[in-house]
Every structure is written in C-alpha cells, then in structure tokens.
C-alpha cells in the first residue's frame, strides 16, 4: 500500500525507505525538535546536576573531603543509611504480601486497595510528616503517654523511620502487582497441586520469577528513602549529630552559608541518584521481560 502511495516520488527507492519517509518529517523539522528537546533538558537536567558537582569541588578536593568527612556529615550519613535499612526491607515484605494477595486471588475491593496503596504518592511530603506529629507529637494522640513513659518518637529515629516508610510505601508494591498479575498463577497452582507448601511455592516458584521486578522496586524505593526531605524535615527537629539526615544536613549547611560544604554533601546524594538511574536502566535494558516492561 505505502509503496503505491509514494510511488510518484520514490519510484526507485526500496519499500523500507518509502515507509520511513511517509512516517517522518523533513530534516529541518526533525533537528529543530531535537534542538528544542535538548535545550529544555540542558536547562532543567544537565546544568542542575553539573552545578552540584561543580559547586562542591569549586574550592578543591581538600575542603571537599573535609566537608564529607566532617563529624556531623558522617553522623548524617549513618542516620540516613540506618533509616533506609529499616524502611526498605519492611516495604519489600509489604510489597510482596500485597502483590501476592492482589495478583493471586480474586476479592471485592481489590481496585480500592490498589488506590489506597498509591495514596502516599498524592500526599505532600510535609503532610506525610505532619500526620506523625499529630500521632506522636507533644500535642498528639499518644504524646502525653509517650512523655510519661519517656519514649521519643518524633524528633528521634522512630519518627524519621516512620516518615520514610510513609513516603516509600507504594514503590515496591506498584512494581510487583502488575508484574505478578501478568504472570498469572498457573505455575504456583501446579506447585501446590503437586504438594508444595505455601512457603515452598513462594520461595521456589514465585520469588525467582519476580526477583528482577523486586530489585527494580527496591532500587527506586532506596533512592527515595535516602533522598526524602520534606517529611523527614517535619519530624526530625534538626538536632545535629542525632536526628539530621543527609538531606537535612545539606539544608543546614546551605542556610549557614557554607555553600561549598553543602554542595559537597549534596554531590554524594547526586552520585547516588546517578547510580540509581544506572541500575534502573541496566535492569530495564537487560531484564525488560522479567520486570514486565
């Protein structure tokens, strides 16, 4: 069909060329659009990420290393890693449990449950922190009881972990649910029919089939957990050496006009973001079918 349509102009060209000509624009339009896209991305992606490293290293490597090995920075890094190490495994277990029940069983309210899991995405990070102040803050539901028994939740590690979990709850579940739905349940059913127990079926059949999808979700969840700022900012209380995460440490240094130090610590987080994108792209390119993309 297409070769007939384009015949007057391209009588000698082979069919494949004709096809691409019909579906493409003149070169000047192509290059103008590419130019606009690249200019936009340069302005909003390349310059900002470049700025982080440039500003961080502007005063040389000495001050850079001094900033990232400063006692407060090390404490902040430790706290961020600790909160992430608690939040990500919990959300992984949650993601697997949610995906197992949603993808392998039929029940009423399933769609509603999926919407509830996505809920934290549509809540402002600041409100994600606020809700725990209302629960555990001095004026909160459990505040008086906590004070009486000398437990600290907000302005301490538990609050930071709770806020981190809240904002990252959906990440792993939303990768696993569509993947496990697409995979169906026939293999699990075969295993169960052959006498495998529940955990055996899960460990030997389900988990190996979703491992790349799980890893993909874990990568995204970890990046967000380590980079969360707004929610953690509300519940942290900004106590140096105690409740400052890396993102909060960046804010404090910046507000104290220690710009180079702020960008030095920020460059660690930016490197982590680039690493995340590399891992994400690797999984997308090498294991596309296994993550359902």
């Amino acid at each position: 069909m297409s070769s007939i349509a384009a015949a007057p102009n391209h009588s000698i060209a082979p069919p494949s060329t004709v096809r691409s000509n019909v579906r493409s624009e003149p070169a000047w339009i192509r290059w103008t659009l590419i130019g606009i896209a690249l200019a936009f991305l340069t302005l909003f992606l390349f310059i900002p990420i470049g700025t982080v490293f440039y500003e961080g290293l502007k005063k040389g490597f000495g001050p850079y290393f001094a900033a990232v090995t400063h006692e407060d920075a090390i404490d902040a890094i430790k706290l961020t890693l600790l909160a992430t190490a608690i939040a990500v495994p919990l959300n992984s277990v949650f993601g697997l449990a949610a995906a197992w029940s949603i993808s392998k069983f039929e029940f009423r309210g399933k769609q509603f449950l999926i919407t509830l899991i996505d809920l934290p995405f549509s809540v402002s990070p600041v409100i994600s922190g606020l809700v725990y102040m209302l629960m555990f803050g001095a004026q909160g539901w459990f505040g008086p009881w906590l004070i009486e028994h000398d437990y600290k939740v907000v302005f301490a590690l538990p609050g930071i972990v709770l806020a981190t979990i809240f904002v990252t709850v959906p990440f792993i579940a939303r990768e696993l649910i569509p993947l496990m739905e697409a995979q169906g349940k026939s293999q699990e059913e075969a295993a169960a029919t052959l006498g495998a127990g529940g955990f055996q079926t899960f460990w030997l059949i389900t988990l190996p089939r979703v491992k790349w999808g799980l890893l993909y979700g874990v990568v995204l969840c970890t990046a967000r957990a380590m980079g969360e700022f707004g929610a953690v900012s509300v519940v942290s209380g900004h106590i140096r050496g105690a409740t400052n995460t890396m993102t909060l440490h960046v804010e404090i240094l910046y507000n104290e006009y220690q710009f180079s130090a702020a960008f030095a610590v920020a460059s660690l987080l930016a490197s982590l973001a680039l690493l995340t994108l590399a891992a994400k792209s690797y999984i997308e390119w090498k294991h596309a079918p296994e993550i359902g993309k």
Binding site: M1, S2, A5, R23, L33, I34, I36, A37, F40, L41, L43, F44, I47, P48, I49, T51, E55, L90, F94, A97, A98, W100, S101, K104, F105, F107, L113, L116, P120, S122, V123, S124, P125, V126, I127, L130, V131, M133, Q139, G140, W141, L162, T193, G197, G198, F202, R224, G227, F229, S233, L248, V250, F259, A262, F263, A266, L269, A270, A273, T276
Partner: protein, 281 residues
Amino acid sequence: MSIFSASRRGNVLPGFGPALGFTLTYLSILVLIPLSATFFKTFTLTWDQFWTAVGSQRVVAAYKLSFGAALGAATINAIFGFIVAWVLVRYEFPGRKFIDALVDLPFALPTSVAGIALTAIYAPQGLIGSVVEPLGFKVAFTRVGVVIALVFIGLPFVVRTVQPVLEELEVEREEAAATLGAGRWATFRHVLFPTVRPALMTGFALAFARAVGEYGSVIFIAGNIPLVSEITPLIIITKLEQYDYAGATAVAVVMLLISFALLLFINYLQWKLARFRQAVT
C-alpha cells in the same frame, strides 16, 4: 473487613488470609490511621477557628501560589515533555539512550539537592541568573523561581506517560493517512495527537499533583516572602514550628482534600488510558 472477602472458589493457593491481613494492617498503621488523624484534629476546631486558619490573607495567597505555579509548571512540562518524548521515540541522534535514562533524574535526585542547585544557577551571580538578571528578569527569590523548581520535579511525568503510547502507535494508521493524501501536519493533528492526548492529560495531571505539594526543591529558590512567594507546605511547617498544630492541620486538610480529588481524577484518566491502549493494540 467484609468488603475484602475473597471468593475462594477453585483457588488452591494458600496464604490469602495472612498476606491480605498483613497488607491491611501495615497500610492501616502506617498510612491510613495517621492520615485520618488530620481529619480528627480538624474536627476539634470550631467553624470559626477553621476559617481563621485557612482563610487568612497569607494562607490564601499561599494556596493561590501553590496551585497557580503548579498549573504553570505542568503546562510547560506538557508542551516540552511531549516534544522530548516525541524526539526520544521517533528520531535517532547521538546520546539518545543516555538522555532517555537521565530523564528520570528528578525522581532520583533528593529535592533539597535540586533546590540548592537551581538556586545557585538562577541567583544573581549564578550561571543563568547573571545573564538574565541584567536584562530585567529576576528568577531566584520570585514566583518565577517557584515555577522553575516545579518544572524540574514534574519533568519526568509527561515524558514517561506519553513515551509508551508513542512507541505503541501503529505504523498502518499513519501510512493510511499518508495514502489518503494527508500531509505530515494533518496526520499529526488528526491521527497522532488524538491518540496521544489521554496520555498527555494523565502526565499533566500527575505533574500537577506532584507540584502542588512539593516542598524541598521550592523553598530555597522561592525566597519565601509572605504573600508573594510563600508556598502552602511552608505555611504548614511554619505553623507547626509555632506549635499551632490545629492551624497547620486545617491548612493541610484543605490541600489533602484537593489532592484526593486529583487522585480520583487521575485514576479515572489512567483507567481511560488503559482502555484506550487495549483498544488500540
């Protein structure tokens, strides 16, 4: 609990009860009950107190800025995000795969890092600020700065929702249009664009919803001048720091309700998009 009861007919797989039980308990303790606290706290206010908290000039100005700037940023993202998706799917150029991977940077980069980087760029001595400021454009510490930050954090949404739809477009439909004598522009307007429109709308709505509640990337570049460049999440934090929990919650509840309405709208759009993609493929 009865709405989540399973129809177990013919299902041999174990673990439904424990898995769903854990899912619901986890979600309730960590998300649903804490979120409900905002509504219970608001109910402790009288109507007058609520109105004083959310109706003050400063809060109304913040709502207007948060929603207005989010709308502006989502519009910019819809236009340029569409071009980026188009170029990434349809054209070959050096570095395309690398750029494709980097589009997700705003998802991966912590918002406070993005905030200080953008501020450094657009500050009067910054890379772009030092060029545009003498020309009379002030960006940092103005509303324009707020929009810039929101464009950054919303950038991937439109690209990532439009891209798969462009990839799935059937070659035959464009060829048919060309066969029937349509030029490229006519094909784009009448064949391609209507196909992509639901995805574009979804991406726009997602970028808008994200931008409304954004905090970290904005507060550095905004300058936070009351009535001028102060966003709603900052108002909530300021009230909390003054131990005005009830006031902070009242401001938050209005935002939450609008966010939930947006979420329902987005779900509706995505449901339409899924049906549409099923019909196309």
